[in-house]
């Protein structure tokens, strides 16, 4: 289960709408505790894919990831997951998402329909990499 405040959900939705029709992305810092992942901070990150691919792809470079790890450690938190948007597509992970994901992290997807944030879902990669399992958002 992934827990976010209304304010954090608002930050993600707003980021998704600002970047539309491109995909937005970002990291979530927080804590894992007994199967519950609590988000303490949402970090919007600039999509590093080339302009022409941004409508269906996002990239957080390892340099950005390194900065997130460092910030998390400083605040005694962990990188607990990432979010991205699916412009005019359902909030379901794609085959591309599956191939580029790591287990443990929460992958939050927000669907943006005609510029308005719509459904939000969150997924965790199965350890054998065969599929994503949906988790509850609270």
């Amino acid at each position: 289960m992934l827990t976010l405040t209304q304010e954090q959900i608002g930050t993600i939705c707003k980021h998704a709408e600002t970047e539309y029709p491109s995909e937005c992305c970002g990291a979530m810092l927080g804590r894992f505790d007994n199967g519950i992942c609590t988000v303490c901070e949402v970090l919007p990150i600039s999509n590093q894919r080339e302009e022409a691919a941004k409508y269906h792809r996002f990239l957080i470079t390892s340099q950005e990831f390194l900065q997130c790890e460092k910030q998390a450690r400083k605040q005694n938190l962990e990188v607990v997951g990432f979010y991205h948007s699916h412009p005019d597509h359902p909030a379901k992970p794609s085959q591309y998402d599956l191939e580029h994901s790591l287990p443990v992290y929460s992958y939050l997807i927000v669907s943006v329909q005609q510029g308005k944030s719509d459904k939000m879902t969150s997924w965790i990669l199965q350890n054998d990499r065969s599929q994503f399992n949906e988790e509850e958002i609270k």
């Binding site: 996002f58 390892s62 790890e69 991205h84 597509h89 794609s94 580029h100 994901s101 443990v104 350890n127």
Partner: protein
């Protein structure tokens, strides 16, 4: 002795250990020892052809090993390797 540091997602496969130590002369040898000891890490670091996954980056003392000699980069005592993924994804793209 060199140290490999792992991000949160990969510690699940090393019994929670974040820092691991090995005797290795190259980056490749160090990664081999890591995946030999923790076989479940293999599929997250390497693709089916045994090549390092494109989104997995190896940093040697805070520098990407691609700016040296890639996995053939030689290591010396006290070096620190960090495995840092890039995070990528996107929506389903219709076939053309």
């Amino acid at each position: 002795m060199i140290t490999i540091q792992l991000p949160t997602a990969l510690r699940t496969f090393t019994d929670g250990q974040a820092d691991l130590q090995f005797e290795a002369l190259t980056v490749e040898a160090a990664l081999c020892q890591l995946t030999e000891q923790f076989a479940d890490l293999q599929r997250h670091l390497f693709d089916d052809n045994g090549k390092l996954r494109s989104f997995v980056n190896v940093y040697l003392n805070d520098e990407d090993v691609r700016s040296f000699d890639g996995v053939n980069t030689s290591l010396k005592d006290g070096d620190v390797l960090m495995l840092i993924p890039a995070i990528a994804g996107g929506r389903e793209t219709p076939r053309t």
